[in-house]
Assembly symmetry: C2
Homo-oligomer: 148 residues x 2
Amino acid sequence: MRAADLAAPYPTVRLDSTVLDAARLMAAENLPGLVVVDDEGRPVSVLPGTQVLRLAVPGYVQEDPTLARVIDEASADAFLERMDARDVASCLAGEKRELPVVQGDETVLEVAALMARARSPLVAVVDDDGVLVGVITTDALLDRMLSR
Amino acid sequence: MRAADLAAPYPTVRLDSTVLDAARLMAAENLPGLVVVDDEGRPVSVLPGTQVLRLAVPGYVQEDPTLARVIDEASADAFLERMDARDVASCLAGEKRELPVVQGDETVLEVAALMARARSPLVAVVDDDGVLVGVITTDALLDRMLSR
Protein backbone atom coordinates (compact mmCIF):
# COMPACT_ATOMS: atom_id res chain seq x y z
CA MET A 1 0.00 0.00 0.00
CA ARG A 2 1.54 3.23 -1.22
CA ALA A 3 0.38 6.85 -1.35
CA ALA A 4 -0.78 6.45 -4.96
CA ASP A 5 -3.24 3.73 -3.90
CA LEU A 6 -4.78 5.96 -1.26
CA ALA A 7 -5.01 9.15 -3.33
CA ALA A 8 -8.58 10.17 -4.20
CA PRO A 9 -9.87 12.90 -6.55
CA TYR A 10 -10.21 16.26 -4.81
CA PRO A 11 -11.45 19.68 -5.94
CA THR A 12 -8.80 22.40 -6.33
CA VAL A 13 -8.68 26.18 -6.27
CA ARG A 14 -6.48 28.60 -8.22
CA LEU A 15 -4.33 31.45 -6.99
CA ASP A 16 -6.82 33.90 -8.50
CA SER A 17 -9.86 32.29 -6.82
CA THR A 18 -11.46 34.60 -4.28
CA VAL A 19 -11.13 33.63 -0.63
CA LEU A 20 -14.95 33.59 -0.48
CA ASP A 21 -15.24 31.06 -3.31
CA ALA A 22 -12.54 28.93 -1.71
CA ALA A 23 -14.34 28.98 1.65
CA ARG A 24 -17.68 28.17 -0.03
CA LEU A 25 -16.15 25.18 -1.83
CA MET A 26 -14.77 23.89 1.44
CA ALA A 27 -18.07 24.34 3.27
CA ALA A 28 -20.22 22.89 0.46
CA GLU A 29 -18.17 19.74 0.09
CA ASN A 30 -17.16 19.37 3.76
CA LEU A 31 -13.48 19.41 2.83
CA PRO A 32 -10.80 19.36 5.56
CA GLY A 33 -8.78 21.92 3.59
CA LEU A 34 -7.84 23.26 0.17
CA VAL A 35 -5.32 22.42 -2.52
CA VAL A 36 -4.17 25.46 -4.50
CA VAL A 37 -2.79 24.57 -7.95
CA ASP A 38 -1.01 26.54 -10.68
CA ASP A 39 -1.99 26.57 -14.37
CA GLU A 40 -0.21 23.25 -14.91
CA GLY A 41 -2.10 21.58 -12.05
CA ARG A 42 0.89 21.52 -9.69
CA PRO A 43 0.11 22.16 -5.99
CA VAL A 44 1.52 25.50 -4.86
CA SER A 45 -0.12 25.36 -1.44
CA VAL A 46 -2.09 22.94 0.71
CA LEU A 47 -4.18 24.78 3.29
CA PRO A 48 -5.76 23.12 6.35
CA GLY A 49 -9.31 24.36 6.94
CA THR A 50 -8.21 26.30 10.01
CA GLN A 51 -5.80 28.29 7.87
CA VAL A 52 -8.48 29.06 5.30
CA LEU A 53 -10.45 30.38 8.26
CA ARG A 54 -7.45 32.47 9.22
CA LEU A 55 -7.68 34.18 5.81
CA ALA A 56 -11.20 35.16 6.80
CA VAL A 57 -10.32 36.69 10.17
CA PRO A 58 -9.10 40.30 9.97
CA GLY A 59 -5.42 40.70 10.88
CA TYR A 60 -6.12 43.15 13.70
CA VAL A 61 -8.34 40.54 15.37
CA GLN A 62 -5.64 37.87 15.10
CA GLU A 63 -3.16 40.23 16.70
CA ASP A 64 -5.52 41.37 19.44
CA PRO A 65 -8.18 38.71 20.16
CA THR A 66 -9.99 40.98 22.63
CA LEU A 67 -11.09 43.04 19.61
CA ALA A 68 -13.16 40.07 18.42
CA ARG A 69 -15.33 40.51 21.50
CA VAL A 70 -16.21 44.14 20.86
CA ILE A 71 -16.85 43.83 17.12
CA ASP A 72 -20.54 43.92 16.43
CA GLU A 73 -22.02 40.94 14.62
CA ALA A 74 -23.31 43.29 11.91
CA SER A 75 -19.76 43.85 10.75
CA ALA A 76 -19.63 40.19 9.76
CA ASP A 77 -21.28 41.25 6.52
CA ALA A 78 -18.45 43.65 5.74
CA PHE A 79 -16.23 40.74 6.52
CA LEU A 80 -17.79 38.55 3.79
CA GLU A 81 -17.30 41.42 1.33
CA ARG A 82 -13.68 41.50 2.37
CA MET A 83 -13.29 37.79 1.65
CA ASP A 84 -14.88 38.34 -1.75
CA ALA A 85 -12.44 41.14 -2.59
CA ARG A 86 -9.27 39.14 -1.84
CA ASP A 87 -7.77 36.33 -3.87
CA VAL A 88 -6.08 33.23 -2.52
CA ALA A 89 -2.64 34.39 -3.76
CA SER A 90 -2.74 37.54 -1.63
CA CYS A 91 -3.29 35.40 1.44
CA LEU A 92 -0.38 33.04 0.86
CA ALA A 93 2.30 35.72 0.98
CA GLY A 94 4.67 34.99 3.83
CA GLU A 95 3.33 31.44 4.24
CA LYS A 96 6.31 29.36 5.37
CA ARG A 97 5.05 25.89 6.14
CA GLU A 98 6.31 22.52 4.99
CA LEU A 99 4.23 21.73 1.88
CA PRO A 100 2.39 18.44 2.57
CA VAL A 101 3.05 16.91 -0.84
CA VAL A 102 4.29 13.36 -1.54
CA GLN A 103 5.18 11.19 -4.52
CA GLY A 104 2.96 8.19 -5.20
CA ASP A 105 5.54 5.66 -4.00
CA GLU A 106 5.72 6.92 -0.41
CA THR A 107 4.49 4.53 2.29
CA VAL A 108 1.37 4.98 4.41
CA LEU A 109 3.59 5.53 7.44
CA GLU A 110 5.50 8.32 5.67
CA VAL A 111 2.21 10.00 4.80
CA ALA A 112 0.98 9.68 8.41
CA ALA A 113 4.22 11.12 9.78
CA LEU A 114 4.07 14.07 7.34
CA MET A 115 0.41 14.77 8.16
CA ALA A 116 1.20 14.82 11.89
CA ARG A 117 4.35 16.94 11.48
CA ALA A 118 2.79 19.49 9.12
CA ARG A 119 -0.47 19.43 11.14
CA SER A 120 -2.28 19.09 7.82
CA PRO A 121 -5.48 17.03 7.53
CA LEU A 122 -4.74 16.55 3.83
CA VAL A 123 -1.67 15.56 1.82
CA ALA A 124 -1.39 16.09 -1.94
CA VAL A 125 -0.02 13.24 -4.07
CA VAL A 126 1.84 14.28 -7.23
CA ASP A 127 3.34 12.52 -10.25
CA ASP A 128 6.92 12.84 -11.53
CA ASP A 129 6.10 16.22 -13.08
CA GLY A 130 4.73 17.54 -9.79
CA VAL A 131 1.15 17.45 -11.13
CA LEU A 132 -1.61 16.64 -8.62
CA VAL A 133 -2.97 13.11 -8.96
CA GLY A 134 -5.11 13.06 -5.82
CA VAL A 135 -5.36 13.81 -2.12
CA ILE A 136 -5.13 11.69 1.02
CA THR A 137 -7.16 12.93 4.00
CA THR A 138 -6.67 12.00 7.65
CA ASP A 139 -10.04 10.25 7.46
CA ALA A 140 -9.01 8.12 4.48
CA LEU A 141 -5.67 7.29 6.08
CA LEU A 142 -7.21 6.28 9.41
CA ASP A 143 -9.85 4.19 7.65
CA ARG A 144 -7.08 2.39 5.81
CA MET A 145 -4.86 1.90 8.87
CA LEU A 146 -7.74 0.62 11.01
CA SER A 147 -9.18 -1.75 8.41
CA ARG A 148 -6.21 -4.10 8.56
CA MET B 1 -24.98 34.64 17.41
CA ARG B 2 -22.74 33.36 20.17
CA ALA B 3 -20.68 30.21 20.67
CA ALA B 4 -23.49 28.56 22.67
CA ASP B 5 -25.81 28.82 19.65
CA LEU B 6 -23.30 27.08 17.40
CA ALA B 7 -22.28 24.30 19.78
CA ALA B 8 -23.45 20.84 18.72
CA PRO B 9 -23.34 17.49 20.58
CA TYR B 10 -20.06 15.64 20.05
CA PRO B 11 -18.72 12.28 21.22
CA THR B 12 -15.96 12.36 23.82
CA VAL B 13 -13.15 10.08 24.98
CA ARG B 14 -11.66 9.56 28.44
CA LEU B 15 -8.06 9.69 29.57
CA ASP B 16 -8.14 5.91 30.02
CA SER B 17 -9.53 5.22 26.53
CA THR B 18 -7.05 3.36 24.35
CA VAL B 19 -5.54 5.29 21.45
CA LEU B 20 -6.97 2.63 19.15
CA ASP B 21 -10.54 3.15 20.40
CA ALA B 22 -10.09 6.92 20.08
CA ALA B 23 -8.85 6.57 16.50
CA ARG B 24 -11.72 4.19 15.63
CA LEU B 25 -14.28 6.64 17.01
CA MET B 26 -12.79 9.41 14.90
CA ALA B 27 -12.74 7.28 11.75
CA ALA B 28 -16.23 5.83 12.26
CA GLU B 29 -17.91 9.19 12.76
CA ASN B 30 -15.67 11.21 10.44
CA LEU B 31 -14.72 13.55 13.26
CA PRO B 32 -12.15 16.33 12.68
CA GLY B 33 -10.62 15.58 16.10
CA LEU B 34 -11.26 14.42 19.65
CA VAL B 35 -12.39 15.97 22.91
CA VAL B 36 -10.89 14.29 25.97
CA VAL B 37 -12.94 14.84 29.15
CA ASP B 38 -12.39 14.07 32.83
CA ASP B 39 -14.86 12.27 35.10
CA GLU B 40 -16.85 15.47 35.56
CA GLY B 41 -17.17 16.00 31.79
CA ARG B 42 -14.68 18.88 31.68
CA PRO B 43 -12.42 19.01 28.59
CA VAL B 44 -8.81 18.27 29.50
CA SER B 45 -7.61 18.18 25.91
CA VAL B 46 -8.91 18.92 22.42
CA LEU B 47 -6.93 17.03 19.79
CA PRO B 48 -7.00 17.83 16.06
CA GLY B 49 -7.17 14.66 13.94
CA THR B 50 -3.59 15.12 12.79
CA GLN B 51 -2.42 15.00 16.40
CA VAL B 52 -4.39 11.83 17.06
CA LEU B 53 -2.54 10.45 14.06
CA ARG B 54 0.70 11.59 15.67
CA LEU B 55 -0.12 9.37 18.65
CA ALA B 56 -0.24 6.49 16.18
CA VAL B 57 3.13 7.15 14.55
CA PRO B 58 6.09 5.69 16.47
CA GLY B 59 8.35 8.36 17.98
CA TYR B 60 11.45 7.14 16.13
CA VAL B 61 9.65 7.69 12.81
CA GLN B 62 8.65 11.22 13.78
CA GLU B 63 12.25 11.98 14.67
CA ASP B 64 13.69 10.39 11.54
CA PRO B 65 11.13 10.37 8.70
CA THR B 66 13.47 8.37 6.46
CA LEU B 67 12.78 5.38 8.74
CA ALA B 68 9.15 5.42 7.59
CA ARG B 69 10.37 4.46 4.13
CA VAL B 70 12.25 1.36 5.19
CA ILE B 71 9.63 0.00 7.57
CA ASP B 72 7.82 -2.89 5.98
CA GLU B 73 4.06 -2.64 5.73
CA ALA B 74 3.76 -5.85 7.76
CA SER B 75 4.92 -3.98 10.83
CA ALA B 76 1.78 -1.87 10.59
CA ASP B 77 0.03 -4.68 12.44
CA ALA B 78 2.43 -4.36 15.36
CA PHE B 79 1.64 -0.72 15.19
CA LEU B 80 -2.11 -1.28 15.72
CA GLU B 81 -1.25 -3.45 18.72
CA ARG B 82 0.83 -0.58 20.01
CA MET B 83 -2.12 1.81 19.70
CA ASP B 84 -4.26 -0.70 21.56
CA ALA B 85 -1.76 -0.93 24.42
CA ARG B 86 -1.54 2.82 25.08
CA ASP B 87 -4.12 5.07 26.65
CA VAL B 88 -4.92 8.64 25.67
CA ALA B 89 -3.43 10.01 28.91
CA SER B 90 0.02 8.59 28.17
CA CYS B 91 0.02 10.46 24.87
CA LEU B 92 -0.86 13.85 26.28
CA ALA B 93 2.19 14.11 28.51
CA GLY B 94 4.23 17.12 27.49
CA GLU B 95 1.40 18.51 25.36
CA LYS B 96 1.70 22.31 25.59
CA ARG B 97 -0.84 23.81 23.25
CA GLU B 98 -3.44 26.48 23.84
CA LEU B 99 -6.60 24.57 24.80
CA PRO B 100 -9.30 25.52 22.26
CA VAL B 101 -12.08 25.96 24.77
CA VAL B 102 -14.55 28.86 24.98
CA GLN B 103 -17.45 30.00 27.12
CA GLY B 104 -20.88 30.09 25.50
CA ASP B 105 -21.00 33.88 25.30
CA GLU B 106 -17.98 34.28 23.02
CA THR B 107 -18.64 35.69 19.55
CA VAL B 108 -18.34 33.79 16.27
CA LEU B 109 -15.35 35.94 15.38
CA GLU B 110 -13.60 35.04 18.64
CA VAL B 111 -14.17 31.35 17.94
CA ALA B 112 -12.84 31.73 14.37
CA ALA B 113 -9.74 33.56 15.60
CA LEU B 114 -9.07 30.89 18.25
CA MET B 115 -9.53 28.06 15.74
CA ALA B 116 -7.05 29.68 13.36
CA ARG B 117 -4.53 30.51 16.09
CA ALA B 118 -4.66 27.08 17.75
CA ARG B 119 -4.83 25.37 14.33
CA SER B 120 -7.68 23.30 15.74
CA PRO B 121 -10.61 22.20 13.54
CA LEU B 122 -12.76 21.95 16.65
CA VAL B 123 -13.40 24.19 19.65
CA ALA B 124 -15.06 22.95 22.84
CA VAL B 125 -17.78 25.10 24.42
CA VAL B 126 -18.10 24.85 28.21
CA ASP B 127 -20.50 26.15 30.86
CA ASP B 128 -19.59 28.15 33.97
CA ASP B 129 -18.37 24.97 35.69
CA GLY B 130 -16.09 24.11 32.78
CA VAL B 131 -18.32 21.19 31.72
CA LEU B 132 -18.57 20.48 28.00
CA VAL B 133 -21.84 21.62 26.45
CA GLY B 134 -20.92 21.02 22.80
CA VAL B 135 -18.37 21.46 20.05
CA ILE B 136 -18.00 23.89 17.15
CA THR B 137 -16.23 22.52 14.07
CA THR B 138 -14.61 24.54 11.27
CA ASP B 139 -17.32 23.17 8.98
CA ALA B 140 -20.14 24.36 11.22
CA LEU B 141 -18.51 27.76 11.66
CA LEU B 142 -17.94 28.28 7.92
CA ASP B 143 -21.50 27.16 7.16
CA ARG B 144 -22.75 29.76 9.60
CA MET B 145 -20.48 32.56 8.37
CA LEU B 146 -21.32 31.91 4.73
CA SER B 147 -25.07 31.61 5.21
CA ARG B 148 -25.50 35.28 6.08
